[in-house]
């Protein structure tokens, strides 16, 4: 008696048929195309980290992260101002966008009629299409003057960055949160309502907890977007390389500093920007990892 393992059909057939060779070639071409992404990720890592390496080695990563003085002309590359700036801008953006976005998602998934939702949903997708430089442009001509007249100061501030970013990340929060809410079985709603809960209690106590993994993923992805945004942020935050805790102060972000300084940077300064890029890359990859983990755990469609 013969045992056959039948996992992939092509592995145990002898290719007598002349067409089989072509099949094999196609298989290999397709496989190569699939590995391009891997190659690209490898090259990106290698070149960004590689260019930043000299500064990393010379100053030590810890000194770079904890250093508070960013003065490239004196070869001083403390990146804490950019790290805290990025953190503040991102948190500010989430603080604005998460309640708005989740609220909007609840509205579309639970409250509005299907007709209204079908009308509004494409609008959100289109909002996601607006190029970041357009947001930056609007930020400079409309938002910065508005903040100046409201809060005083110059208007160029981390808050301006947060508001622009909040608008930019809103669509993805709304989309993913709404998809998750809609994917919940109708049974949940019926069961809860049948127990005499109000619609709001159903949403608050049953649906939102059940949708949490999806909402968390949407927030993590939005965070990645916010952390990495360059043009819009650079145009409105004032780019002051000083550690601050106040949203109304001007401040610099990692991506913004790279965008602002890359064109004039030479030698070690250039390498320092790549080192900044490396830290940015690491943060993003960690967020990606967490998002992928939550996705596979919660079996959320993203």
């Amino acid at each position: 008696m013969k045992k056959n393992s039948v996992e992939t059909p092509s592995t145990h057939t002898i290719h007598k048929d002349p067409g089989a060779r072509k099949e094999k070639t196609i298989h290999i071409v397709l496989l190569l195309a699939a590995t391009v992404s891997l190659l690209a990720l490898f090259l990106i890592t290698a070149f960004v980290v590689g260019e930043g390496w000299p500064v990393m080695v010379k100053h030590g990563p810890l000194n770079l992260i904890l250093g508070t003085d960013w003065t490239p002309s004196r070869l001083s590359f403390g990146m804490l101002p950019q790290l805290t700036g990025t953190l503040l801008v991102t948190l500010g953006a989430l603080l604005i966008a998460v309640p708005l976005g989740v609220g909007c998602a609840i509205f579309l998934a639970e409250l509005s009629s299907e007709k209204v939702a079908n009308l509004l949903r494409p609008c959100i997708s289109l909002l996601a299409a607006v190029p970041s430089v357009v947001y930056g442009f609007l930020g400079v001509i409309a938002l910065v003057p508005l903040l100046r007249s409201t809060f005083g100061g110059s208007g160029y501030s981390l808050l301006a960055g947060s508001i622009v970013l909040a608008i930019m990340i809103l669509p993805s929060i709304i989309n993913i949160s709404e998809d998750t809410l809609r994917a919940l079985p109708i049974d949940y709603r019926e069961a809860s309502l049948a127990l005499g809960s109000t619609r709001w209690q159903t949403i608050w106590r049953v649906l939102l907890p059940a949708a949490r993994p999806g909402i968390v993923v949407s927030i993590i992805l939005a965070m990645g977007r916010a952390i990495g945004e360059t043009m819009a942020v650079m145009m409105v935050t004032g780019n002051r390389a000083k550690v601050t805790g106040a949203l109304l102060d001007p401040g610099a972000t990692m991506a913004g500093t790279i965008g602002l300084e890359w064109s004039y940077a030479a030698d070690e300064h250039s390498s320092a920007l790549f080192a900044l890029g490396t830290f940015l890359f690491i943060v993003i990859m960690l967020l990606n990892g967490v998002a992928q983990l939550v996705t596979s755990r919660g079996r959320v469609s993203q």
């Binding site: 196609i26 071409v29 195309a33 003085d69 960013w70 003065t71 490239p72 002309s73 004196r74 400079v140 910065v144 003057p145 100046r148 100061g153 110059s154 208007g155 160029y156 650079m234 145009m235 004032g238 780019n239 002051r240 390389a241 000083k242 001007p250 610099a252 965008g259 602002l260 300084e261 890359w262 064109s263 004039y264 940077a265 030479a266 030698d267 300064h269 250039s270």
Partner: protein, 265 residues
């Protein structure tokens, strides 16, 4: 679907093949400082109208990228709006100053102050003077600076700051235009900008009683200016030399003067 495969393969081959092939003859690539770029484009336009067979590609990227491109042979000419560094000279770079650009200290048009000494300017940008009240105005000073590495900033720090460190308490903008719009929107702001690009939305200050004009830069009474230069790896030859000769000739220098730059010795 066979076509699809053919397409795939040919695109791959194309992208690899193109990487290897050379440039057209009769063309020049000029890369570098975004401050010099607009002037270079005008020069290129003029030059090409005289020599229709020659293509001049002018690209931004910044002074350092420009010099680096010249060193690496990516560009025929590099453009710089700052002094060439010793490390770059050591790579065999030959710079030629084509013009100078004044650096003006600018404030909001409504600011009462219109004249500062160079010591006062230094103190303001060092963060020692933080209020206009100390120097005849009202309100707290908002300092606007260019980003680290910018030619304008480099020249300003070298000429004005005299090794004194600039304050961190400033707004940092990526271009003269962005500095001007920050100043134009903020009554208490002060910043430095390229004179050639200055416009009426801001007020230019006199320094040590001397008005910021090209004449005063040329006669040496206004000292804050930076060189605009082009550079080649080794001595310029062929087309590159021809183009440089054109820039340094009568027509080229006139184009630069018309655009508000300081030309001549």
């Amino acid at each position: 679907m066979k076509r699809f495969l053919v397409l795939l393969v040919s695109v791959l081959a194309l992208s690899l093949g193109i990487a290897g092939c050379g440039r057209r003859s009769g063309s020049l690539t000029v890369v570098g400082s975004t401050s010099v770029q607009p002037f270079m484009e005008m020069l290129a336009e003029k030059y090409q109208s005289e020599n229709p067979d020659i293509q001049v590609n002018v690209q931004g990227g910044g002074s350092s990228a420009g010099v680096k491109s010249a060193i690496d042979g990516i560009a025929d000419l590099g453009m710089a709006s700052r002094e060439i560094k010793d490390s770059e000279l050591a790579e065999g770079i030959t710079p030629i100053v084509i013009a100078r650009d004044g650096i003006a200290v600018a404030v909001h048009p409504e600011n009462a102050v219109s004249d500062l000494t160079i010591e006062e300017i230094r103190a303001i940008f060092a963060g020692e003077i933080t209020s206009w009240e100390a120097i005849g105005g009202v309100g707290d000073i908002v300092v606007v600076m260019r980003e680290e590495g910018s030619g304008t900033r480099g020249a300003f720090e070298e000429i004005v700051m005299n090794k004194v460190e600039t304050t961190k308490d400033s707004i940092v903008q990526g271009s003269t235009g962005a500095v001007m719009s920050a100043i134009a929107g903020e009554p208490n702001a002060i910043g430095y900008i390229s004179l050639a690009n200055a416009n009426a939305t801001v007020k230019l200050l006199d320094v040590n009683g001397v008005e910021t004009t090209n004449e005063n830069i040329l006669n040496g009474s206004y000292a804050i200016a930076r060189p605009f230069s082009v550079c080649t790896k080794g001595d310029a030859t062929g087309l590159a030399k021809d183009f440089i000769d054109f820039i340094m000739g009568e027509v080229g220098q006139q184009v630069l003067a018309d655009e508000g730059l300081v030309v001549g010795k």
